[in-house]
Symmetry: C2
Subunit: 312 residues, 2 copies
């Protein structure tokens, strides 16, 4: 008898990683949603329960629902699917909340159907869900959520994903200022054009970051965590950004930037100890801002979505 | 007694490698200049002999002379230097002719002075020479000429160079159409701005190429050898470009593009056999153009400038 019910852990993710706008992403171990998927007799996809966040119960308006429908349509499976969503990643926080739900739904459903689809195919189903949330289909959160570690989206047409080596020592710190910042707004302030000189500097940094990750050269990783294209514009939407950067770097972080389209910010650190010190420094720096915030620090999730055990 | 005379092999190089405009470069084993450097009693730098190309004999107008002067000035060495240049790389061909001379001069001189300078320092001296040739200081030919293999210039200010893993199977084919195309002209036709979408695609490809090189994933290398920024403009200056690309790819090359600022074009191939077949296909494709040309195929030079033995 086939398994008909599966609960999975769906990691939060940091998209862009400073220089890698729209192409790089990293999965986090410390925070993730729990998704429970059940095969049912009723045709179609139903969201049966959502806890921890206010999200649409209608499947066609819910990113996990849309992602699951995309998979179902491709699968030829005639039955139905019920999805329970237990949010731990705050929607709108900028660490891949919608991507985690979409990734978890398709990964779990694929398991229950006997793994008919490859990881790249699962990414493309999850991207269909993501498009609902951000207005444009992007994969820089769903790819690391499904693959784990650090992923590169080389191109979108067709979707071309590669896993980049990720040193086990790498830790991330996230600070989430509890202000509202919609992905679509955060995208609309971007300029349509950049100078060739900015472009050269940006692809030099992308090359440096990836080379540094493969060779575990933390100096090179640190120097490459620079964004001359998006951050100068987008950071204006995040109060206290410059002060936080200074605190994080002074505490020993390798780099500091905006997580995805924000408002969360992140620091990458070499080792858990520096990550804890950086988290502490960020807290102290942000307390005077008068804006509620949350922080956490976490190793990199190397595995992607996985069956739920006793996650945090 | 110290050595006072040294002859070196200075490899030709392919800058840019399609997507990596101004940041990536690769050293070639098959073609290179011979430079002979001698410490002398006469103060200053003198070019004593040039064969194989018409280049200025005045040191301050010669890239190797200027590079050597930059090193001498930093060294505190009081004596003089004589340089003999035996060109095998045709000036203006687009495979780093001036870079080879500059790199060879500083590498040999550094050896004779007892290696006071590091490789990155040698690159910066050689760049001073390069600036004379192209009007702008760039390091994407001198870095691979000095380091060997494939190099990344992450940034220029300060100069930040990293070596990228280069699979031993990688071979390059070069076709040099014997038309004149000055680096400065070839730069002046470039647009000052690019769209953000072009930028994203370009840094996705740079990330893909470097990931492919480290993981020896030839499919990924091949898909990443795409230039959506420079090539569409610059290839218009190279007659027969589209036909050559088609021939090279049909013969099995991983990718095809402009070598540096042209007019030479290159293909990268997996293995010597495919390289030979690609060279043959390129020859056949170009013969009908009525433009004189030369071709060669070569493994990657993994060592950079080295003492001259019995090079080709």
């Amino acid at each position: 008898m086939h398994q008909t019910l599966l609960s999975v852990f769906c990691p939060a993710t940091i998209a862009n990683l400073s220089c890698g706008f729209d192409v790089l992403g990293l999965a986090l171990e410390g925070v993730g949603d729990r998704m429970t998927v059940r095969l049912s007799g009723h045709e179609g996809v139903r969201i049966t329960r959502i806890t921890g966040g206010e999200l649409p119960m209608e499947a066609e308006k819910n990113v996990a629902g849309v992602a699951a429908m995309a998979l179902l349509e491709a699968s030829g499976y005639q039955g139905g699917v019920e999805i329970e969503i237990e949010k731990h990643i705050l929607p709108g926080s900028g660490i891949g909340s919608s991507a985690a739900s979409a990734a978890g739904a398709v990964w779990a459903l694929n398991q229950l159907l006997g793994n008919p689809f490859s990881l790249p195919e699962l990414v493309s189903f999850a991207v269909a869900g993501e498009a609902l949330a951000s207005g444009t289909p992007h994969a820089d959160n769903v790819a690391p959520a499904l693959y784990g570690g650090i992923t590169l989206i080389r191109g979108y047409d067709p979707l071309d994903i590669a896993r980049v080596h990720c040193p086990l020592l790498l830790h991330a710190v996230v600070l989430h200022p509890q202000i509202e910042l919609k992905t679509s707004d955060s995208r609309s302030i971007l300029k349509r054009n950049i100078t060739l000189q900015q472009g050269i500097r940006q692809w030099g940094n992308v090359g440096g970051l990836i080379t540094g990750l493969f060779t575990e050269d933390y100096g090179l990783i640190s120097r490459s965590l620079e964004d001359v294209v998006i951050e100068p514009v987008r950071s204006l939407l995040i109060p206290g950004f410059a002060e936080m950067r200074e605190s994080a770097l002074r505490a020993g972080a390798l780099g500091f930037g905006i997580s995805g389209s924000g408002p969360s910010v992140f620091a990458l650190c070499r080792g858990a100890q520096v990550a804890r010190e950086t988290e502490e420094a960020l807290k102290q720096s942000y307390e005077s801002m008068g804006i509620p915030f949350k922080t956490f620090s976490s190793p990199v999730n190397q595995q992607g979505v996985r069956p739920w055990k006793n996650e945090p």
